[in-house]
């Protein structure tokens, strides 16, 4: 529960919740304020961006006037958010959602946020304030009263409509109304956006029924999850968060719905994450497949192999939801940044980077799909063989690597690992008859060469650890994935020794893990911490060690089960874009591996099948 007042401070990143409709998402603060919304899709310009500038960004607040406390929760196993406000005189319940429905029989707005404020006890003064600011706070749109249709906000190529069950007063770029609610009374709101006319304006009296329908839709979706192991509630919440970041029209999954939430407060580590990174493919597909979300996994794989067609066989590191290159990066001159953390970046300059690991990620994703029983059609096979050819030609090149530093290219061990993974999976697919007309002997020759190079130059005898860069002496958390991808068993002496060094150099006393050295530039990296838990579950530690670490990490989720990109050591506060798909994929992965270990089940399909080469290295570390 949080004490709030009329002069609310800037919320922490962990004070936000997400609502969405699998095409766009909004962030709602604990104080009833929508501070982030981009329509019609994740990477569109914002209409509310108070997240990045409380003054100029734009917001939509529905909250009690005066001091109150707030607590919130999602309606069980749904993405419908409820915030309960308690004031000195009464209790209010705010319900927030972006409606989703399977019904095609009725007209519904293209994009809509529905809000309902109900007084459940006593009475309370309430403030409603809509402050739209288009194009990342750069445009103050005109608000026009359109009779009983509502308030119309014409902006660019689209139109926003606000429908309200109470009359709102129009000011300069503001619609507001103070009012008083008594027990049993409710306020209803619909805020919608359309780029096609005539727009659909739903009657407000249908809102209660539509909320119920939306809750049912999410519950039905959540009920498909085939998981009954440790931390089920957290795993389902992670799956629900992941689903919100899937752009359903194409099947793409965005890394996060926000831009420029800082990895260091006041620092310049602010990036736009509203795009789809291929490096997330393999772990994401595995999470979806193992939870039983076949439709989402197949759709995502289709996107991976077809939306990237314009650049194939070369792959960019990330794409927009429709498979276009990420836009060029520019800095907003309007928005001051979260807690003054400039710059606010739109677009992402990492688009020009070379990351050789993405080929392994994509091929492994397709291989997992095939190992789980999916079929790779002839076109997909051709694409995979094209990727394999590219890997054979380019694996020896230096690249920027998984963490995308803007400091030049190096020979990253992780990139070599994924080059090996790419060829290893292609060999296995060929052996199983799922990939035809592929040069298996060449794959094997090159895979062995990469394997030998990682064993020799990726291992630092003095440190007794694998290292980030070939022949280097620094560590990064992606080395934990050597076991995940089946390169080396988790319980091998080398991996155990590497894990110990990682803990020494990148670990915190709280069980968290920084992603790379030097460790103090930013927060601890949430997915890396989950990788550590999964590494233990895979055999790097005992079941109880894995469970203990997982339980420790679960304590860092916010009150509604969400994670950002990073966690500040000590305070536990979130840093970086929020919520982060990759972190939730990490949580699901760790829980899945722990569950399989506890049940004594076979390892995950992609590792079980990756037996196309010699036994992993068994030498003793130094």
């Amino acid at each position: 529960m949080l004490e709030c007042g009329a002069d609310d401070r800037i919320p922490g990143i962990e004070d936000y919740a997400i609502i969405g409709d699998c095409r766009a998402a909004a962030l709602v603060s604990r104080c009833g304020q929508i501070d982030w919304l981009c329509w019609p899709r994740f990477d569109s310009p914002s209409i509310f961006a108070a997240l990045l500038d409380q003054e100029r960004g734009g917001h939509w607040r529905i909250a009690p006037l005066g001091p109150y406390s707030a607590e919130r929760a999602y309606v069980s196993e749904s993405n419908v958010l409820e915030t309960r406000f308690r004031t000195a005189s009464g209790t209010l319940l705010l319900t927030d959602l972006m409606p989703v429905t399977e019904s095609r029989a009725s007209l519904v707005p293209d994009h809509e946020i529905v809000r309902r404020l109900s007084c459940t006890a006593g009475d309370a003064e309430v403030e409603v304030e809509l402050v739209p600011r288009a194009r990342y706070g750069g445009v103050v749109p005109a608000l026009r009263q359109a009779g009983r249709l509502g308030i119309r906000i014409e902006c660019g190529r689209g139109v926003y409509w606000l429908r309200s069950s109470i009359p709102l007063r129009l000011g300069e770029g503001v619609a507001s109304a103070p009012t008083r609610l008594k027990a049993g009374q409710s306020l209803l709101f619909s805020f919608s956006y359309a780029e096609e006319a005539p727009a659909v304006l739903p009657p407000l009296e249908e809102i209660p029924q539509r909320i119920d329908e939306c809750v049912c839709w999410w519950r039905r979706w959540a009920a498909q999850a085939q998981y009954d192991g440790e931390a089920r509630e957290e795993v389902i919440r992670s799956a629900l968060a992941l689903k919100l970041l899937i752009f359903t029209p194409s099947g793409a999954i965005v890394a996060a719905p926000t831009t420029s939430l800082p990895e260091r407060i006041g620092g310049g580590l602010n990036w736009d994450y509203r795009y789809c990174w291929l490096r997330d493919a393999s772990l994401t597909i595995r999470a979806l497949l193992e939870l039983g979300y076949w439709e989402e996994a197949a759709h995502f794989l289709d996107w991976l192999l077809h939306a990237t067609r314009l650049t194939q066989p070369e792959l960019n590191i990330a794409y927009t939801v429709f498979g276009n290159p990420m836009p060029e990066e520019w800095e907003s001159q309007t928005l001051a940044g979260y807690r003054g953390s400039r710059p606010v970046r739109i677009g992402n300059a990492a688009r020009d980077q070379l990351q050789l690991d993405v080929y392994g990620e994509v091929i492994d994703a397709a291989a997992q799909y095939a190992f789980h029983g999916g079929t790779l059609d002839r076109e997909m096979q051709k694409v995979m063989i094209g990727f394999g050819r590219y890997v054979i030609k380019h694996w020896e090149l230096p690249d920027e690597g998984i963490w995308e530093p803007r400091s030049g290219r190096r020979h990253h061990t992780h990139s070599r690992l994924l080059s090996w993974t790419a060829l290893d999976r292609l060999i296995t697919l060929c052996h199983q008859g799922k990939l035809e007309h592929a040069p298996v002997d060449e794959y094997r020759k090159q895979a062995d060469q990469i394997h030998r190079q990682i064993e020799a130059a990726g291992w630092n005898q003095r440190l007794g650890s694998y290292v980030s860069v070939l022949d280097g002496d620094q560590l990064d958390a992606s080395l934990l994935l050597l076991s995940w991808y089946g390169f080396e068993k988790a319980d091998s002496p080398r991996m155990r020794s590497t894990y110990r060094r990682l803990r020494e150099r990148l670990g915190t006393p709280d069980g968290l893990l920084y992603r790379s050295e030097p460790p103090a530039r930013e927060g601890t990296f949430a997915i890396c911490s989950f990788w550590a838990a999964e590494y233990l579950a895979l055999g790097g530690g005992t079941v109880s060690e894995a469970r203990d670490l997982l339980n420790t990490l679960l304590k860092y989720r916010n009150d509604i089960g969400l994670y950002g990109e990073e966690i500040e050591a000590g305070s536990g506060r979130f840093l970086g874009n929020f919520p982060q798909a990759f972190t939730h994929v990490g949580l699901i992965g760790a829980a899945l591996s722990l569950n399989q270990r506890q049940k004594g089940e076979q390892p995950l399909a992609h590792r079980r099948e990756s037996a196309s080469r010699a036994e992993p290295h068994q030498k003793q570390p130094a």
């Binding site: 095609r104 029989a105 009725s106 007209l107 359109a146 009779g147 009983r148 249709l149 509502g150 119309r152 014409e154 660019g156 190529r157 689209g158 139109v159 409509w161 429908r163 359309a194 780029e195 096609e196 006319a197 005539p198 727009a199 659909v200 304006l201 739903p202 009657p203 249908e206």
Partner: protein, 158 residues
């Protein structure tokens, strides 16, 4: 009347009108989607409405071209600029009388006076369809002018 010539010129003019309106919408000059607007007269299902509306728009355009052709025949005059003038007059009628009457004849269109109801949920076009984007009248005038000009230049009098 020259029936084969009407069928051909009406088809080509209609194709141009539809393409120009769709292009205007795609480029963001207007939000107006005529097939969707017409289709929702028949059905409340969005995807079906687009399809039905597209067919209705084609039939509609052909029917209107018949009126143009009858005027050409009555005046014994046919050329591109006369067609263009008829197109502009047609657009003016659509934007003023047509659009203002729409909320009363369209079964799913709301009005500012009554607000949205269970069935009537569609945003009304307003004067000159300005609710669908300020450049909408320009796009309607241009597309109808092209419709008339093509009809006028392709149709041959009997």
């Amino acid at each position: 009347m020259n029936w084969p010539s009407w069928l051909l010129s009406g088809f080509v003019a209609n194709l141009a009108l539809t393409t120009l309106l769709a292009t205007s919408q795609g480029l963001g000059f207007t939000r107006m989607n005529i097939p969707f607007m017409l289709g929702t007269v028949i059905t409340g299902e969005r995807e079906k409405a687009r399809l039905y509306g597209f067919i209705a728009h084609l039939v509609n355009g052909w029917a209107f071209s018949l009126v143009y052709v009858l005027i050409f025949e009555a005046r014994h005059t046919v050329n591109w600029w006369f067609g263009l003038l008829l197109g502009l007059a047609h657009a003016l009628f659509v934007l003023t009388a047509g659009m203002s009457l729409l909320p009363y004849v369209h079964p799913r269109m709301a009005s500012e006076r009554h607000g949205p109801q269970a069935i009537r949920q569609l945003e009304p076009p307003g004067f000159m369809a300005l609710n669908y984007g300020y450049p909408t009248p320009v796009s309607v005038f241009l597309s109808h002018a092209a419709f008339g000009a093509i009809l006028g230049s392709l149709y041959h009098l009997r």
